[in-house]
């Protein structure tokens, strides 16, 4: 299965289709960090919100690069479950690379600053919170991208609709005072937590919420794949 993951990642890179989400992410980060300096935890919280739709889009592109018949060949070769898992793993690896870029970017462009006030978080704590919130984004974004992939929804139009709905819905339903926040992954809530009081129980709760949402979305993806044969 690892060989299949590598083959899919190689296909993703060699087609050049990895460039579009990478550029989109860099432009978004440029705008984000171009406005001034912020402390790491706060900056990374917003960065994670920005990164979420980019990673979902990147996942959809990665899964859509492979022709349908080649995907079926892989299924015959490694079995149904491993073929599905290899796609998700490949998208996860690509997402982790993007997370590394996102974490490094503000330091490269001078977009972050150290503590200003004695009550401010230290840089290591801020970076740790930033790492947590970005890792929280990965499974949710991969799940949303998989749901939007051609193998799941068929036509390209439906895929774009799922991506747009998922991206916008995550922001809108995640706003403070939302009636049904649990319908979306807790990206907005996590961003607010990094900027405010990040109690351990809150972090654990948000992590569980994100994993549960991602599991449900992956379940939906697998169900769609099964239904589509």
């Amino acid at each position: 299965m690892i060989a299949l993951v590598r083959l899919r990642l190689a296909g993703f890179l060699r087609t050049g289709r990895a460039v579009a989400p990478l550029l989109a992410g860099l432009v978004a980060f440029g705008i984000l960090y171009g406005g001034g300096r912020a402390q790491p935890a706060e900056a990374y919280g917003v960065s994670a919100v920005v990164l979420f739709p980019v990673l979902a889009w990147q996942t959809k592109i990665l899964l859509d690069v492979e022709p349908d018949v080649q995907r079926r060949l892989a299924q015959v070769t490694v079995g149904v479950a491993r073929e599905r898992l290899a796609g998700l793993l490949g998208a996860g690896v690509a997402a982790l690379v993007a997370v590394a870029v996102a974490l490094a970017f503000p330091w490269l462009v001078g977009g972050v600053t150290g503590p200003v006030d004695p009550t401010d978080r230290s840089v290591p704590v801020g970076v740790a919170l930033g790492l947590w919130v970005h890792l929280l984004v990965v499974p949710a974004a991969v799940a949303l991208g998989a749901l939007a992939s051609r193998a799941s929804v068929g036509g390209a139009g439906y895929g774009v609709a799922v991506l747009a709905l998922g991206g916008v819905g995550t922001v809108v339903l995640g706003l403070t005072g939302s009636v049904v926040p649990w319908l979306a992954p807790p990206i907005m809530a996590a961003a607010r937590t990094t900027a405010g009081d990040a109690a351990a129980v809150t972090l654990l709760g948000l992590t569980a919420w994100a994993l549960a949402w991602s599991a449900a979305a992956v379940g939906g993806y697998l169900w769609r794949r099964r239904a589509r044969g």
Partner: protein, 291 residues
């Protein structure tokens, strides 16, 4: 492997392509899937290969290793022939050295050696089809499913397909192959499944113990040795003659006596007059052995 009451369609409310199909194929057997265009041959093959999940019914005892050659190889991929095949070999569970070795062997055998560094989208249809065959054979499959494998192939490779099938069968595998070009005449011992109106029926044209006659031309000096080897493999040598014209139908085993001008079929002495230029050997073989 057995398909039990298999129903298949492509959409929830779409028309049924297969309706209650019940077929089985065992180790060492080959079945040719016949039928008009769009009748469901590829669907049947994909269900058998595990590409499609039947809406109803089930597939049991599918061999662990399946090789599937799709009707159209997906050449729109950013790899060279060698990189793609190596990747598929690794995906199939071969280690690096074994994958390289298998890729070299199969690209040589299928005439792809000159194309190893060529990118898949640049291949002609026939060459891409060869890559499709190669990826299915990198690990010897227990079930080989060939969807119109002769499509676009050159004459040399068309001749090679029955050889590959024979090798899979000899190793105890099973083979399913579809064909609408009449190429399966090259598989005289194959079972014949006809797909029509969602059902699969098996033709029983071959009676029990049916035989096929193969005429083989060998250099005169090797005639005696060839006869001995064929007999050692269990074939029945009907006669040995010295002209290269196609022979008239030979006598059936246990039937009429051989023609008076033919040597005794079962006892050509090593110094028999077969050692003449252009000698032919007519071999009568059980149908199952003649694949």
């Amino acid at each position: 492997m057995r398909l039990e009451n298999v129903w298949s369609r492509y959409h929830r409310r779409g028309p049924w392509v297969l309706r209650g199909v019940d077929v089985r194929i065992g180790p060492g057997e080959v079945a040719v899937v016949l039928g008009r265009n769009g009748v469901g041959k590829s669907t049947l093959l994909q269900v058998a290969a595990g590409v499609l999940r039947p809406a109803r019914g089930r597939v049991t005892d599918r061999p662990g290793r399946v090789g599937w050659v799709p009707e159209r190889f997906p050449a729109d991929q950013p790899f060279t022939v060698a990189r793609y095949l190596t990747g598929m070999g690794r995906t199939a569970g071969l280690d690096r050295a074994a994958a390289d070795e298998a890729v070299t062997a199969w690209t040589d055998r299928l005439g792809l050696a000159a194309f190893r560094a060529v990118r898949l989208p640049e291949l002609s249809k026939g060459t891409a089809q060869k890559v499709g065959i190669a990826q299915a054979m990198l690990r010897p499959p227990g079930l080989l499913v060939l969807d119109e494998p002769w499509e676009g192939l050159d004459a040399t490779t068309r001749e090679l397909v029955p050889e590959l099938i024979d090798e899979v069968l000899a190793a105890g595998g099973a083979v399913l192959v579809s064909d609408h070009r009449g190429e399966t005449v090259r598989l005289p011992g194959a079972r014949r499944w006809t797909v029509a109106d969602g059902a699969v029926t098996e033709e029983t044209s071959l009676p029990e113990g049916a035989v096929a006659v193969i005429e083989v031309a060998v250099p005169t000096a090797r005639a005696a040795g060839t006869v001995a080897r064929l007999r050692a493999e269990g074939h029945q040598v009907l006669r040995v003659r010295t002209d290269a014209r196609p022979a008239p139908p030979p006598a059936r085993p246990g039937g009429d006596d051989p023609a008076p001008d033919d040597p005794a079929p079962d006892d050509p002495a090593p110094d028999d007059p077969v050692a003449v230029d252009g000698a032919d050997v007519a071999v009568d073989s059980a149908a199952g052995e003649a694949r």
